[in-house]
Symmetry: C2
Subunit: 434 residues, 2 copies
């Protein structure tokens, strides 16, 4: 267990409250002068987040701690205005203030994020009560019409292939990798992920595959190279499609892999397999029925389908800052919400695998590479961009490590097809490695 929740709980808020009740005064902050109004606001914010063991320093030098024992991380706030915004909407303004430098983190950014995620979901924090109340009314992603979808995707994926090449693996897979052994390199783990997907899909030579949301084309090219199937791969990111086409040319695979700059809703034809890796987050639950009808239209009678998506255990809005600055229109579904794609069409779910901890490890690699390439990123973008991306990668790593986010791979077939693998043993057969 990476993050020791039990230790954390013991060292933080619960003990302080115990001391408060006994009337004894303990802990660094308690021995100081009474807090200013701003200090009390900050204290209240920490309480509402379940008393994470953090030390917050204000512009006036005042220090606020929560929890007993030493703080495991903390941050400095540069001015009153940033504090007030943070108090009003911490989910949005922590990211804003971190990006523009009004908040400077002291200690490890990942650890700080993990501690906040773990503490705020304790039963009876204002955060967890609000989450429970709000679960029915949350924003499950905007309506993604053909044109807003294009804008949203352009916002993130067309930042420039060179930027992504600085910290992704060589084949530019920008989705969760699969590490059969933890010590694998990122390159090996992304190839292992593609093999896992192809084996789950039970691909055989000369079969046809349609891919919805193909990124920079790594999976489509892997399928054609190693499984002998033919692929039509759809994507609405212009830069990604251009990159993928140039790779197909270089590999002389243009007759086996076709990259199409179009929306998943415009997929036509019939295929032996449907695959979508990391697109569903951008689809939005209000379009799941539509996606199910697209799959129903294009999957052959004995075809197999696989959906790979970031998910959640319970419905909750995506972090407001991530939705605003990083992934507009995105929403990570629960497994229950994902079934809304498949159940109306009578598809049969064959296999679901949760690769949450593999995404945490993938993000460790990405964050390390991003930091290693910091000089080159700084030469391409301003400091606000660098800080925003660091926070996005660190916060995502923390989210997967603490169970805020999940990664679901869902394999399915038509309800009346018996052309499915007899067991899953072939997924783990070393002698048949792709």
């Amino acid at each position: 267990m990476k993050l020791d929740d039990a230790d954390l709980l013991e060292s933080s808020g619960q003990q302080v409250r115990g001391n408060d009740r006994s009337g004894r005064v303990q802990g660094a902050s308690e021995q100081r002068a009474p807090l200013s109004l701003e200090g009390r606001l900050m204290r209240q914010l920490l309480t509402s987040l379940g008393d994470p063991p953090l030390e917050i320093t204000l512009w006036n030098g005042e220090s606020i701690t929560a929890g007993a024992g030493p703080a495991v991380a903390g941050f400095r706030i540069a001015d009153r205005s940033s504090l007030l915004k943070l108090f009003i909407n911490p989910n949005l303004y922590f990211g804003e203030a971190y990006s523009d430098g009004s908040i400077e983190v002291e200690g490890d950014l990942v650890r700080l994020s993990e501690i906040v995620y773990v503490c705020r979901r304790r039963p009876d924090t204002p955060y967890s009560r609000r989450m429970n109340r709000a679960a029915r009314w949350i924003n499950r992603g905007r309506r993604n019409t053909l044109s807003t979808a294009r804008d949203n995707i352009h916002h993130h994926y067309d930042l420039g292939n060179e930027f992504y090449s600085l910290w992704l693996d060589r084949q530019m897979s920008y989705t969760c990798a699969f590490f059969p052994a933890r010590e694998m390199t990122l390159e090996q783990a992304q190839i292992a992920k593609m093999d896992l997907v192809c084996r789950k899909l039970w691909l055989r030579p000369e079969e046809t595959v349609v891919e919805a949301g193909c990124g920079w084309g790594a999976l489509a090219l892997h399928i054609a190279t190693h499984y002998g199937a033919r692929v039509k791969a759809f994507n609405i990111s212009r830069e990604q499609i251009a990159y993928a086409r140039s790779r197909a040319r270089a590999l002389d695979l243009e007759r086996r892999v076709e990259f199409i700059e179009d929306d998943y809703r415009n997929i036509d034809g019939r295929y032996d397999a449907f695959v979508s890796i990391g697109m569903l987050e951008h689809v939005g639950p209000s379009h799941y029925d539509e996606l199910g009808r697209v799959i129903d239209r294009c999957l052959a009678s004995n075809g197999r389908g696989l959906l790979h998506s970031i998910g959640q255990n319970q419905p909750a809005a995506l972090n407001a800052w991530i939705e605003k600055r990083i992934f507009p229109g995105a929403y990570p579904p629960t497994l229950r919400e994902m079934t809304a794609i498949l159940e109306p069409q009578g598809f049969s779910v064959i296999d679901v695998e949760n690769l949450r901890l593999h995404y945490a490890l993938t993000l460790e690699h990405w964050l390390r590479r991003f930091e290693d390439a910091r000089g080159r990123v700084s030469a391409m973008y301003d400091e606000r961009f660098v800080r925003a991306w660091r926070l996005y990668l660190a916060g995502s790593l923390a989210a997967f490590n603490t169970g805020e986010l999940q990664l679901f791979q869902v394999l399915f077939a038509r309800g009346d097809s018996n052309e499915v693998p007899w067991t899953r043993a072939h997924l783990y057969d070393q002698s048949a490695a792709g």
Copy 2:
């Protein structure tokens, strides 16, 4: 593919309708004298079921066929009253009439059931239209209070251990087996199923396990014997608990396995693992939230849980005859419905496996053993009982083979627990076979 749907479709109704449109008269029945009123009713019933290629013979010798080409099976109806009941409610009265001998099947009962299941779900049959309309209002199983649950379970599971011992495996596992290789014996496959469950649950020596609905105790005893864990196993079937206790005594496992005659709602204590194999079918969706709260109450912070249940791809009422005569109060949930147990408590789904075709093979073994033991069953029960059980086993085999029913194994943990297996490779590691 066991049942060749494509061949079936080609040889049946669609072709007949084509001929009708062309005005040509073909097929055995078409060359005979005009049908009687009863014959036309039967023809209308077959049409409403999607024209399965069957030949039905009435008490007056009249023969009705649907589909072109030869009928692959058929049945004789003994009297007008049975035909009328069948016409009014085929789902209920086929079973009733078969049990009392008013219907005699000609050909293979499994094949007949499969053909009806496949044909009736064709788009635009009255059956499939009615199913689509009724999906929102179906009976998802009665309310199972503590006392009705006891009555329902007594109805089926307390028929006598001797009866079940005639056709189950030696350890009396009355749930889907797992056949790593198809040619395994039923005994081997039931042991392989128990090992699969234990490996998924990641059981380690001296851990504690609670089992909800333990049948005749095979899994609880297997866990204690081969995984060194301690088990509390709950069941409300008196005969099953008595049998399980006597096995625990014989194996000298009474200090490691406790069999408790009580309802799952009365489980107390905290455990490293929660397991329930084939009980959920009897719980009913209106009690899923309650079951989720029981699991939440009893699962340790790093515990794992597994639910193994017959399921469906889309909500549909259990066959009316099965619900009336075999499994009162039962309902097979969709995967979406199963998430209603886990999502409200924030559990994280780690792994879902659909073992549908393994249940079809399990039922092939049971049906063969049941037929082999027919003489002994007849000595214990009347002919109506023997026929009802044959139909139940054959119809269930057909239902799993054609995708009417599914078998879901759902593995889960607490949302914030990182104490979960890194991959699933250990499930298929031959060198570690239990």
